[in-house]
């Protein structure tokens, strides 16, 4: 995405302006428009549909509260992604703390021969995978993503799943573009090795 395109006022501008004046309908429109993307980012981050829904809910709530501080330096979508990523990071941190304190939880991944799997994937969130093979394949990819460190995971999600540019990712995560590039390389290398291993098995 070029510089020009990036700073071009997006369609959300008018809605954001209305939100700033306290228009709840405008905010609802923004929610409907962006919730899917945000939910998917959150879901890939935490690999849990319930948690992802809560993250999105919290993120939109934070966005509403902080809408006055949104200066339009980036698009509303980018700004919202930053909030979702940060909320997801916090959630992961919480979960990690929780796990270290709890010996056993029903939500813990079930360790199987082929790795670990979660209950949620098949429960609340409707899986669109119709073919068993495809679903299996997707589960394996998800397992590999899950194994990534947060800093690599988020770059991979933002670039390969959501298609954000290096520049946008750099803005969202407040890191240099070179760092985005190197983190992405390492994330992909890991994914390649992980998937090759999984496929071989």
């Amino acid at each position: 995405m070029s510089e020009k395109e990036k700073y071009k006022p997006d369609d959300d501008n008018e809605l954001v302006s209305r939100c700033k004046r306290g228009d709840l309908e405008a905010f609802e429109t923004l929610v409907i428009k962006h919730q899917k993307k945000m939910l998917n980012i959150a879901f890939r981050m935490v690999n849990n549909c319930e948690d992802a829904c809560e993250i999105v809910q919290d993120a939109f709530f934070s966005a509403y509260k902080g809408i006055q501080s949104f200066k339009r330096r980036s698009s509303f979508s980018t700004w919202l992604c930053t909030i979702v990523i940060n909320t997801s990071r916090n959630r992961l941190q919480q979960n990690r703390t929780k796990l270290s304190h709890e010996q056993f939880s029903l939500d813990d991944p079930i360790i199987t021969d082929s790795g670990s799997m979660r209950f949620e994937l098949a429960s609340d969130c409707p899986s669109v995978a119709e073919q068993l093979e495809k679903k299996e394949m997707q589960d394996r990819v998800q397992v590999c993503i899950e194994a990534l460190e947060t800093e690599f995971k988020e770059v991979l999600i933002l670039r390969d799943m959501q298609g954000f540019s290096y520049e946008e990712i750099s803005d969202m995560l407040s890191i240099a573009q070179g760092t985005v590039k190197s983190r992405l390389f390492r994330a992909r290398e890991y994914m390649k090795k992980c998937l090759l291993k999984v496929f071989r098995e």
Partner: protein, 329 residues
């Protein structure tokens, strides 16, 4: 460039995030390196696998849930704004304290401002009371004066007439008994006599009979005559008219008081017309321009205790006669 270096760039190469030079280098290498071409192919599969992950669809309740929390927040904001305006305890308490303080200050201020007004309202009545008290005193004093100023009976008829022409009837009508008693000794004092006459007609008549009267008239006739104007010139030489004003002046030293009065008269263009010395009383009759009357009165008041017995006449005469009875204080 080694394969490791090339493979490090493949990720960016795939994203088309390399400079044209870097891209060309990699293109050239790939043409000759099967291993790197394999690495690129694997990478492409990996990325497409990730990209190929199905998106999850938000549950239908998500929007509603988000909006519920947002609306609650909006409500809370609105309420807290109202609370800030109407209910904030942290503002209300000091506000109440401030308001009470202001009310107290205002009340004090109003009270302070009202006080002088109350005083000014009270003052006149006090003055009135003191005036009355002074008048009463004066009345009591008069007999003394009159007693002291016993003078030839010739004067008396003249003074009687003066009194007849003067106002303050009511005041005189209410004169207490001692005055009439005094009248027995002396009928000269101008003011009271006539009324004493009226009040104590029999006594008066008796006196009148005994006193040298112009004609040997019977008592009722004498009264009539007394009320009728007479020529005072016969009695007070050089004075063709009765005094316009009668004053009682009290001083410590009569002689110095006389001098001061003379001086005051002459200062204001007047003159001493006549003086009648007695044991400890002095009657001075002075003549003064009517326009100088008020300054003269003021001057007198600075010299000693003055009681005006007849009110200042609104005379149209150029000059007025003032009778001043000087007595020891």
């Amino acid at each position: 460039m080694g394969c490791d270096k090339i493979q490090e760039q493949l990720s960016a190469y795939l994203d088309d995030a390399l400079s044209p030079a870097e891209k060309e280098t990699i293109d050239n290498h790939l043409r000759s390196c099967l291993k790197c071409r394999k690495a690129l192919a694997d990478l492409e599969i990996t990325v497409s696998s990730i990209k190929g992950l199905d998106e999850i669809i938000p549950p239908p309740w998500l929007t509603q849930k988000i909006m519920t929390s947002v609306k609650a927040e909006a409500e809370r904001k609105k309420r807290s704004l109202l609370q800030k305006l109407f209910y904030p305890l942290h503002i209300k308490l000091p506000l109440e304290a401030v308001v009470i303080f202001l009310v107290a200050i205002t009340a004090l201020y109003v009270f302070k401002n009202m006080e002088p007004e109350l005083k000014t309202r009270i003052t006149p009545s006090e003055e009135t009371v003191s005036e009355y008290a002074e008048k009463g005193k004066a009345r009591q004093l008069r007999p003394k004066v009159k007693k002291q100023s016993q003078s030839p009976g010739g004067m008396s008829s003249n003074k009687d007439e003066t009194a007849a022409g003067s106002p303050s009837h009511q005041e005189r009508g209410q004169l207490p008994a001692p005055l009439s008693e005094q009248f027995i000794y002396d009928k000269k004092p101008p003011v009271k006599e006539k009324y004493s006459e009226e009040l104590k007609a029999p006594e008066k008549n008796m006196l009148m009979k005994s006193a040298p009267s112009p004609a040997g008239l019977s008592a009722p006739e004498e009264l009539k005559q007394e009320r009728a104007p007479q020529a005072p010139g016969k009695i007070i030489s050089g004075l063709s008219e009765k005094e316009d004003i009668s004053l009682s002046f009290k001083a410590i030293d009569i002689d110095s008081a006389k001098r001061e009065l003379e001086e005051a008269l002459s200062d204001l263009g007047g003159k001493l017309v006549k003086e009648e010395p007695a044991s400890d009383t002095l009657i001075i009759i002075g003549e003064l321009g009517s326009d100088k009357l008020l300054p003269f009165m003021k001057k007198l008041k600075t010299l000693g205790y003055v009681k005006e017995m007849t009110p200042t006449p609104m005379s149209d005469k150029d000059r007025v006669l003032i009778k001043i009875t000087v007595s020891r204080h």
